[in-house]
Subunit: 158 residues, 2 copies
DNA sequence: CGTACCACTGGGCAAGTTGCCCAGCGATGA
DNA sequence: TCATCGCTGGGCAACTTGCCCAGTGGTACG
């Protein structure tokens, strides 16, 4: 659960050069190969590293428009709404948040015009009372984890 | 830019079993190794596949609380705010959206109490006028891309 | 109608990596 | 004092990678 400095360096190295192998990592970190292997196994079984899935860019796939929709759900319809939204490919993420029984929904679309279609499809579902949408214009800080890893790795040792 | 069926299957396969190699993929897909290699290279240089960085779970790192903060920025301070928030490790993502000159900010914290510290640190910056925060309770649809990939891969061929 | 060009196949090669094993060592804790 | 744990450093066979090649079918263009 707690991460030490070596774990941190492994994760950072892996993030910078994902194609790197265990052997090369051990060389760069100055430790034995078995050590890196053991650490990696531990990090994965701990759930710290969930996997190494490919990071796909929706924009390159033809979906350059991202938006966030805040949904207001009819009482008791939460489960139905989740199940429905799971079936919509353009829904990339769905979160329930504090506030008036709300959900936050990350959407993509082929264009601003297409976004209308996606939103209609989302809010067309019966259990959704109201939706307000914000279109993403810029992404100054793309989803990242490294700074947090470094903090988690560096803060503990002392 | 456009993805065909084989590209889609490669991405899906890669997402399901990231440790798989090119040779094993070619066997499962029933194509020559060189073909898979060429497709992968193309997908990466196209930017469709950005990389294979490790997916780290903030919760396993000791940051189980996620929240979204909507920030209202003082006129003309946008760039300063971005630069500042980039330095805060708990800020995992920052987006500018339509609406009253707003930014949306994804945060994590060690606990609800710790979230207060993080928020103070975020909104303590001068260029931020107001912030409203929503704590994430559940994550019914974790960030995903496969359904979209399948749609992009399956819709074109006909 | 012929000719390039392109993507794919199927094969072959050396070099490197992986997964697995082992013995030894130093620090930690009972 | 002894057992445990994590790390080291080494060795091994099996596999994969990166790279090369010639041949083939389809498509676009002259």
């Amino acid at each position: 659960m707690a991460i030490d400095h070596l774990d941190g360096r492994i994760i950072v190295l892996l993030a910078e050069e994902p194609r790197i192998g265990v052997l090369e990592m051990s060389r760069r970190l100055g430790v034995a190969r078995g050590t890196v292997q053991a650490r990696l196994d531990r990090l994965q079984s701990n759930g710290v590293i969930r996997g190494f899935g490919p990071q796909v860019d929706p924009a390159a796939l033809g979906y350059p428009v991202t938006a966030f929709a805040t949904l207001q759900i009819r009482q008791g319809q939460g489960a139905d709404v989740r199940a429905y939204l799971t079936t919509v490919p353009e829904v990339l993420e769905l979160l329930t948040t504090t506030g008036s029984g709300d959900m936050l929904c990350r959407l993509v679309a082929r264009s601003n015009a297409d976004l209308q279609r996606v939103i209609d499809r989302v809010v067309g579902f019966d259990g959704i009372v109201r939706a307000s949408t914000a279109i993403v214009m810029e992404n100054p800080v793309p989803l990242r984890i490294i700074p947090l890893v470094e903090q988690a790795a560096g803060a503990e040792p002392p």
